[in-house]
Structure formats: structure tokens, C-alpha cells
């Protein structure tokens, strides 16, 4: 099975796309009274989050959310029940947690109090994930800035290497 583009290629967000995604996330967090609504790439890179619980390690959380979805998707593949629009539900004593695909490139986590009706959260997450997928779907005429305008030239690799050395403490 070949999944072209999964390795070595990733999500590139324009400022307009980022703004649109954040607007959806803000609306989702408000309507669901979410303790946390977090958006990450399917490969575990943190994009944005909203909600009252912002005191979490977002980088670590993004990696775990992506891994959870990847594992769940693999499980469904193995038992031959693979379907689009995967959503994972975890019901705790105090919180409901939903993890959902948001298009081909992103994953959405919502953590809300058990007081909030599950059906309501599910509906909000489905709507938000579909809008997010639409925002990042490649479309003719959709402007993505030239990547060359962002990444510095020749010396960048050396500077990154030097930055690694500078991080190191004995």
C-alpha cells in the first residue's frame, strides 16, 4: 500500500487559512464550552488551541492526539471496518473527549465537561471538522505563498546545526 505524500511532505498554511481555521476553532470552543479545543496535523504538529485549559504541553498533546487517531485508524483497517470521517470518543467521569479527522491533513481534539450533551458536542465537532477540511482542501486559484519566500537561503542548514550546538549544555 503506497500513501504518497505521507512522509516528507506536510501541511503548509497561508495566513488566510490560519485565520479561517482559528475562527472555526474559536466558535467551536465557545459553543461547546470546551475546556480545550486543539487542532494538530495528522503527523502530530500543533496548529492552534482554544478553551479554558490552555496550561497543557500543546506540542506533546498534539503528538499524542495524532498518534491516537493513527492507531485507531489502523485498528479499523485491520478489522476491515475502515470508514471516512473517523471520530474517537472517550467518556470520563468529568470530561468527554472527542478526537476527529479534520480533512486529510489535520486532527481535532475537543475536551468538554460531561455536563455538555454528547450529541451536541458530536454535532459541533462534525461541523467544525468539515469546515476545517474545506479550508485546507487544495483548490484551483487558492493562493498559497511561494515556499521559497519563507525559507532562508544557503546558510540556513549551517545555522540550524549551530543552533543545535548552542542548545546543548553540559
Amino acid at each position: 500500500m503506497v500513501e504518497h505524500g505521507d512522509v516528507g511532505s506536510g501541511l503548509v498554511l497561508s495566513p488566510l487559512q490560519e485565520k479561517a481555521l482559528e475562527a472555526v476553532l474559536v466558535q467551536l470552543a465557545a459553543k461547546s464550552s470546551a475546556a480545550l479545543a486543539l487542532l494538530a496535523t495528522r503527523t502530530g504538529h500543533y496548529i492552534a488551541s482554544r478553551g479554558s485549559r490552555r496550561d497543557v504541553d500543546s506540542a506533546a498533546l498534539a503528538s499524542l492526539v495524532a498518534a491516537d487517531l493513527a492507531a485507531s485508524t489502523q485498528i479499523t483497517d485491520l478489522v476491515d471496518t475502515s470508514e471516512a470521517h473517523t471520530m474517537i470518543l472517550r467518556e470520563g467521569e468529568r470530561y468527554t473527549m472527542l478526537i476527529a479527522e479534520a480533512g486529510a491533513s489535520m486532527v481535532l481534539l475537543v475536551v468538554a465537561s460531561r455536563d455538555v450533551p454528547l450529541g451536541w458536542i458530536r454535532m459541533l465537532v462534525q461541523g467544525a471538522s468539515q469546515r476545517m477540511a474545506e479550508i485546507t482542501r487544495p483548490a484551483p486559484g487558492r493562493h498559497v505563498p511561494a515556499m521559497a519566500s519563507v525559507l532562508p537561503g544557503g546558510e540556513f542548514a549551517n545555522l540550524v546545526g549551530q543552533a543545535i550546538d548552542d542548545l546543548w549544555t553540559d
Binding site: 501541511l11 503527523t43 503528538s63 498518534a67 492507531a71 521559497a148
Partner: protein
């Protein structure tokens, strides 16, 4: 790779791959211990009750501002034990580079080879030819008596000169920074090349 134009952030994913008990997690522990709290995340480990990696370890490094950009490196390990093949493939998804951590002990060369071939198979399943892919080989546990010679190791894995090889004693931190630096440089060079190609 994830690029956010508005924030001028670029995040890359590096996976430490290799046979069981080869020192992948030790690499991340050493990096965690040698980098200030303010420039890294916590080390996340999904372990079994026996303290072995179940799914992955994770650590993010923030490299500060470079050329107006804020690069980040997300470091993952894979579980080395044979039964976690499916998990290894999942962790490789989206990787921008790989550090292959091999074991120097003579009786572990078969495991090195199996893991190496497995990695190439998984990369291939994602449509990636490992020849052009950023890859660094770390030959770990060089302090152990009877460690295999570098030439023998190279021939066992049919390594050509493309992938740099670092001798390491990860438990003491030796070779850890050098491997990390080398893979990050290669990842950035490849990104630059892809960017130039897409702009042409």
C-alpha cells in the same frame, strides 16, 4: 513538516528508528537532559509495564529565531520490539528525516539488518525512496567489548557513503548531539531543495 506563514514557524519531524534495546530512547533522554527546560517540551513516553517503549517517545526542541524563522524539531522514537511493526510504520508517517540507531554488539547484527530493511520497507510503503531521504546512522554502544567493526557493519547493511555514520555511546551522551545536528542539517537541505524545485 508543518509551515505556518503567519507565524513564520517551520516544524520538522525526525524519527529515531532501530532494533530493540539499541538506544533510541536513551538518545532522547540525553537530548532532554542537555537542553534547557525553556527550549524543549517534556519527554513523553508511552511505555509498557516493563518500561519498554510501547508506541513512541516524543520530545520537541525549539531552536530559537534563525533567519527570521522559528524552527522546531519534533523527535520521536519507534518501539523496537518485533511485535510492534505496525506501530513503527505509524510513527514514520510524516517523518522528514530518520536517525537509525544500531547496536554495536556482534550478536545484534541480524536485528540491525532486519530493522534497517523494515524501515526501508515502511518508507517505501509511503512512496519514499530511502536513497534521497535524510538519513543518519548512529552506531551505538561502541564502549562494549567486542563491538563490531565499522566496515563490517557498513557491509552488513550495504551502507553506501550517502548516509553519515556516527559512532556513539548514547548512555554517556557521546555521539548524540552530533547525530542530531547531522540529521537536522540534512532535513533542512532537503527542504530547501524541495522548495527550490517547487518554485522553479
Amino acid at each position: 513538516m508543518y509551515i505556518n506563514y503567519a507565524r513564520r514557524e517551520i516544524t520538522v519531524k525526525v524519527v529515531y528508528y532501530g532494533p530493540a534495546l539499541g538506544g533510541k530512547t536513551t538518545n532522547l533522554i540525553q537530548i532532554h537532559d542537555h537542553v534547557a527546560d525553556s527550549q524543549r517540551s517534556e519527554l513523553i513516553s508511552l511505555k509498557t509495564a516493563e518500561d519498554r517503549t510501547l508506541f513512541f517517545d516524543f520530545l520537541e526542541l525549539q531552536l530559537g529565531k534563525i533567519g527570521g524563522l522559528t524552527p522546531r524539531a519534533q523527535l520521536y522514537t519507534v518501539p523496537g520490539q518485533a511485535r510492534y511493526e505496525a506501530s513503527r510504520r505509524l510513527v514514520l508517517r510524516g517523518a522528514d528525516g530518520v536517525v537509525f540507531v544500531a547496536d554495536s554488539q556482534l550478536d545484534r547484527q541480524e536485528e540491525n539488518l532486519e530493522s534497517w530493511l523494515g524501515m526501508r520497507r515502511h518508507l517505501s510503503s509511503y512512496g519514499i525512496d530511502s536513497q534521497g531521504f535524510p538519513l543518519v546512522v548512529q552506531l551505538n554502544k561502541r564502549d562494549l567489548p567486542g563491538a563490531v567493526g565499522v566496515d563490517l557493519f557498513r557491509s552488513t547493511l550495504s551502507l553506501n557513503g550517502d548516509a553519515p555514520l556516527f559512532e556513539a555511546v548514547a548512555v554517556d551522551g557521546r555521539g548524540v548531539r552530533e547525530s542530531l545536528r547531522a540529521i537536522m542539517e540534512r532535513v533542512v537541505v532537503r527542504l530547501r531543495r524541495e522548495i527550490s524545485a517547487s518554485a522553479a
